[in-house]
């Protein structure tokens, strides 16, 4: 495992970038616990300071230190993304694979369920949950909720991929040559499914973070909790763009971009690594 990571780290710049950034963000997420200020309180530091040694990213118009705020935002948004993506990935993969391989009545019932989840109007439900939970709406709960509603589309995708793979030449060859189904799935099909899972994961994380930003912009998430979305919300609310408080508005945007870019690089690198054919090429190149 470590050897693999070390290998990838040395040989693939994308992996190196993605891994470094993610590791950095995870460390930040832990360090954010030791913030010297209460991140929910206002006016803990002088307002609207430009970056300085004391406040490396300056302070905002409601008297908060932007660097510490951003670190807490990284923690919360990462938490949200990980929880939501993990839940929805697990459900999507299980449902998609089972339904694809098993077929029959099971498949039909599950597909009805899946399609129903696709057509459920998510927005009223999110508002419903936000208003019922009110202050107990934290990142974990929001992550679970978004995760529970974010799997159906991808389950469908995985299922159709399986259906397509089942009909492929090599599957038949494998079946004729007496390979067990489990073996076929893990050795023959997985290389096709993993890149798909990776790609949908990236899409899902982007969707989750986008959803959080949207909810914040509409004032529907807990605006006291520092996240990428609420940071943007407050910055725009206080006209950070027009008053040229770039340190305030750009921080969450850059975090968002770097985070997702890192995930993307990491995922493409891993899927290529898992693909036996590209691995061969890599070895040949060396």
């Amino acid at each position: 495992m470590f050897a693999v990571i070390r290998d990838l780290y040395r040989n693939d710049k994308r992996f190196a970038f993605g891994f470094t950034v993610l590791a950095f963000f995870v460390i930040i997420a832990f360090v954010s616990r030791f913030a010297p200020y209460d991140m929910r309180a206002w006016n803990t530091v002088p307002r609207d300071l430009r970056p300085s040694l004391q406040h490396p990213l300056g302070t905002n118009s409601i008297g908060q230190d932007i660097m510490w705020k951003a670190m807490a935002a990284i923690k919360n948004s990462l938490l949200l993304g990980v929880i939501a993506a993990a839940i929805s990935r697990v459900i999507a993969i299980v449902v998609g694979l089972l339904s694809g391989y098993k077929g029959g009545l099971f498949d039909r019932v599950v597909m009805v369920l899946t399609d129903s989840f696709i057509i459920i109007p998510l927005f009223p439900i999110l508002i419903l949950i936000a208003t019922i939970l009110r202050s107990s709406l934290n990142m974990v709960v929001l992550g679970i909720v978004i995760g529970l509603f974010g799997w159906a589309w991808d389950a469908r995708l995985f299922r159709s991929q399986i259906l397509s793979l089942k009909e492929r030449e090599f599957t038949r060859t494998a079946v004729f040559s007496g390979l067990k189904t489990f073996k076929i799935v893990t050795t023959e099909h997985l290389p096709y499914i993993v890149p798909l899972v990776m790609a949908t994961t990236i899409n899902n994380v982007i969707w989750v973070i986008g959803m959080e930003v949207t909810l914040s912009m509409l004032g529907l998430s807990n605006l006291n909790t520092p996240t990428i979305g609420t940071m943007i919300y407050w910055a725009l609310q206080y006209q950070a763009i027009f008053l040229e408080r770039w340190n305030w508005i750009l921080t969450p945007v850059i975090i968002c971009v770097v985070l997702i870019l890192a995930l993307y690089m990491l995922s493409t690198s891993i899927s290529e690594y898992l693909d036996p054919r590209t691995r061969l090429q890599m070895i040949r190149k060396r």
Partner: protein, 333 residues
């Protein structure tokens, strides 16, 4: 074949639509917003002098007019009855205007906006994705990928706002708000169409910028699998021209999932684009639905969602029925 595949799929379709229609009946009624109360508060917000002595009576009158007096089940039955005659009932926020009228006012804007941006982003994303895979060592192709993937994670709100600031404020070539200009007659005439294009330009551009990434990524993934298929390898080995390989072998085969993706996305265009509508002050269904949810306008929430539910499930049905015809490798199982 018919019995084994089409009929179960149709049963699935109708079951899903039924579940969806039931859910949009139930969910709004669970919302804490209540049409009578939100109307009262709107009356107050609009400045009407609400004598406390009259409030209870006003509540009763509204309750009666809205037809919310019977039990849930009774309302549920009459909802389906009405639905079959194509009647979505009156809106509560714009009583007694029929929900259908309100939807008709907003739907063309939304369909136009989303259809155009979906098509453009699909075309660009697909083509660029194909190019990226076909020329894995080209610097330009890598740069394109980096730009697309770097722009995509920017929160949509920011992208839209930046476009607006650049092209409607700093260099005001595009309008700040609305769907068409003052004094223009709505209809099929040059002035209206030009005005329409001018107003829709930035909203469409903002959506295209964000949506390209998804199509690009999907195309890239699918095509990179295809490029390693035996027939492509043979074609390359036999020295066919690169352009022919790209278009005849790679693009053509990778496009099937792109087409189904496009079709599925068509189903989603009835919901509107809330943030786009808010940022560009553009007319459409997103804001209509949003304000309906906030005001507890049950009939309007249901009406709009009926469109989405039927739209999305029909798109899924069509894709499932047609897909096997497009991709011979998938059998009806």
């Amino acid at each position: 074949m018919l019995k084994k595949y089409y009929i179960p799929r149709l049963i699935q379709y109708f079951t899903v639509v039924f579940i969806g229609l039931t859910l949009v009946f139930v969910i709004p009624r669970l919302l804490p917003s209540n049409p009578v109360e939100s109307q009262l508060s709107r009356m107050m917000a609009q400045g009407q002098y609400l004598d406390p002595a009259a409030i209870e009576q006003i509540r009763e009158t509204l309750q009666q007019l809205y037809g919310l007096e019977g039990g849930m089940f009774q309302q549920y039955i009459s909802y389906f009855k009405r639905l079959f005659t194509g009647d979505l009932g009156p809106s509560f926020t714009q009583f007694p205007t029929p929900v259908m009228t309100l939807i008709k006012q907003s739907l063309p804007w939304t369909v136009g906006l989303l259809l155009v941006s979906l098509t453009i982003s699909w075309l660009i994303g697909t083509i660029l994705g194909g190019i990226r895979v076909s020329f894995p060592h080209s610097r330009l192709a890598r740069l394109i990928e980096l730009v697309i993937m770097g722009v995509r994670p920017i929160p949509y709100y920011i992208v839209a706002l930046v476009l607006l600031i650049l092209f409607a404020f700093l260099v005001p070539v595009f309008p700040m708000a609305g769907g068409y200009s003052m004094g223009v007659k709505i209809g099929f005439n040059a002035r209206f169409i030009l005005s329409l294009l001018r107003h829709a330009f930035l909203p469409v551009l903002s959506m295209v910028i964000i949506e390209i990434g998804g199509w690009f990524l999907q195309m890239r993934n699918v095509a990179s699998n295809i490029i390693e298929e035996d027939y492509v390898v043979y074609a390359e080995a036999s020295g066919l021209p690169k352009a022919k390989i790209v278009f005849m072998y790679i693009m053509r085969n990778a496009i099937i999932p792109q087409i189904t993706g496009f079709a599925l996305n068509l189903g989603f265009i009835f919901g509107g684009a809330l943030i786009t509508e808010i940022v560009f002050a553009y007319p459409g269904m997103g804001y209509l639905l949003y304000s309906a949810i906030l005001a507890g306008d049950y009939n309007l929430i249901m009406g709009i969602n009926v469109f989405s539910i039927i739209g999305v499930s029909t798109a899924m049905l069509v894709v499932d029925l047609v897909y096997p015809l497009l991709d011979p490798r998938v059998r009806y199982s």
